[in-house]
């Protein structure tokens, strides 16, 4: 190889690059599309996690939808009130108050509390585990399988494994709803952040069956209904459900629940051995 080959190579490629680059630069000016400047502003204040919690494929798409007026300003649960306020300011409307929400796992059937039908040692995926006979290894078919399908989709490291089941870290959770869709047992729901009285059971079985499967399941005894002075807790389909609009967090139902299926941050009852 002589020097002329090297020189020709370098010159040709750089020359072509220069020529094509100039052409593209010219075309960029000529074919310029006027973009709404609010688009970039909104995109800048969005969290940029591209989690899809708003229902749009990523933050860019959501910003576009907001500018075009087809998306609600409050759809970004990840950013919370600050982002809503920011978007509202850019779009020139008054901010709407949003209640902060967190995901919550409606199961407390950990390795100590729940009984198992068999040992599962297959794929570490809830979908796979659920395909097996009986819908997983837990005796209770409604219970958390603890394989971590929700853990895998969480982009905020808000899901932790505690003794064979998952728990949501309330501080890290951004309510992006990814885990809600990932759970094949539909165990995860969004609950208000300020309300910390929750039912940790999703079993629709009759009380007797629940008692045989799990120490902390809701046996639909309706003690909570009677204890509640605010008509905020009801047993429907063999499982207690809290009406968060009415709940005042008085902890009465938590104290009364014989199986500790209702939990609260302020009142922790010892589980009977």
């Amino acid at each position: 190889m002589d020097i002329s080959t090297i020189a020709f190579s370098a010159l040709t490629i750089s020359g072509m690059g220069l020529l094509l680059g100039t052409g593209l630069g010219y075309a960029a000016v000529k074919f310029k599309v006027e973009a709404d400047e609010r688009l970039q502003l909104i995109r800048d204040i969005l969290p940029g996690a591209n989690c899809g919690g708003c229902g749009y494929p990523g933050c860019d798409a959501y910003a576009e939808a907001v500018v075009s007026g087809s998306a609600p300003l409050t759809a970004c649960s990840v950013g919370g009130a600050a982002v809503v306020a920011g978007i509202s300011e850019i779009m020139g409307v008054e901010a709407v108050a949003v209640t902060k929400q967190v995901a919550f796992v409606k199961c407390n059937g950990n390795n100590t509390n729940a009984l198992f039908k068999y040992d599962y040692s297959g794929l570490n995926d809830c979908q796979a585990a659920m395909q097996l006979a009986g819908g997983g290894s837990k005796a209770c078919i409604y219970g958390c399988l603890g394989c971590g399908s929700c853990y895998n989709v969480c982009r905020f490291e808000a899901i932790e494994f505690v003794d064979g089941i998952v728990k949501i870290n309330r501080e890290k959770c951004t309510a992006c709803k990814q885990c809600v869709g990932a759970c094949p047992k539909s165990l995860i729901t969004l609950v208000p952040y300020d309300n910390y009285v929750n039912v940790t059971c999703n079993s629709r079985d009759a009380g007797k069956i629940v008692r045989g499967n799990c120490k902390v399941g809701c046996i639909s005894c309706k003690m909570c209904e009677k204890a509640c002075k605010f008509d905020a807790v009801h047993v429907e389909n063999n499982c207690a459900i809290i009406d968060y609009d009415k709940c005042t967090m008085c902890d009465e139902c938590v104290k009364k629940c014989p199986t500790s299926a209702i939990v609260s941050k302020t009142f922790v009852k010892e589980t009977k051995a």
Binding site: T12, M16, L24
Partner: protein, 196 residues
């Protein structure tokens, strides 16, 4: 350059050596943009445009620049440079003139840059000694028409599959890949030796 050769190139690139079905080039957009016939057609048109332009420019650059300077070994870099710029141009043009098609093609439009079918047709053009400039351009166009044919047919089948009752494990890409395989076998039926 006579009519027979153009006809043979047409038969060869569209059916016998179909880029997707027999050469297995350009599989990424083939699987990615084939959910709806409409977008598949749009992608096909974009590919036809890019391939025709790329065939013409790379032919000129190869024969009148690289060959002249005895630096043919640079053809890969030079071709990719040209194709990438062309795709950028098409992207800007589409964004301005047809935003809905631009939206529908999405990420796959910039992906034409790295679409091996485009680079493939340019390399095939340079490697076939009997191809002149016009033959090369025709080859580019017809190869892209073959690509369009394959992707539109595939999109049609996938649209129908959507409405069918399919085992949940096969939903989505698994059944699409099986379909693509069967289509490829069908295209093998065209495999006769053409005197190119």
């Amino acid at each position: 350059m006579d009519v027979t050769q153009v006809f043979l190139i047409m038969l060869s690139s569209i059916f016998v050596n179909n880029f997707v079905m027999s050469r297995f080039l350009g599989i990424c957009p083939f699987l990615g943009v084939s959910k709806k016939i409409e977008t598949a057609l749009g992608m096909g048109v974009a590919v036809i445009f890019v391939m025709a332009l790329a065939s013409a420019t790379t032919y000129i650059v190869y024969n009148y620049v690289l060959s002249l300077l005895n630096i043919e070994f640079l053809y890969n870099i030079a071709f990719i440079l040209i194709i990438a710029s062309l795709v950028q141009l098409v992207e800007m043009f589409l964004k301005k003139s047809n935003p809905s098609l631009y939206q529908a093609l999405g990420v796959y439009l910039p992906l034409i840059t790295t679409n091996c079918a485009v680079l493939g047709v340019c390399v095939i053009n340079k490697d076939t000694p009997s191809f002149g400039f016009i033959a090369a351009v025709f080859n580019g166009i017809f190869a892209a028409v073959g690509f369009t044919l394959a992707i539109v047919l595939f999109a049609g089948i996938r649209e129908r599959i959507e409405r069918n009752n399919i085992l949940p494990h096969f939903l989505g890409f698994p059944i699409a890949l099986i379909t693509a395989g069967l289509m490829s076998i069908a295209f093998l039926g065209f495999a006769v030796q053409l005197p190119l």
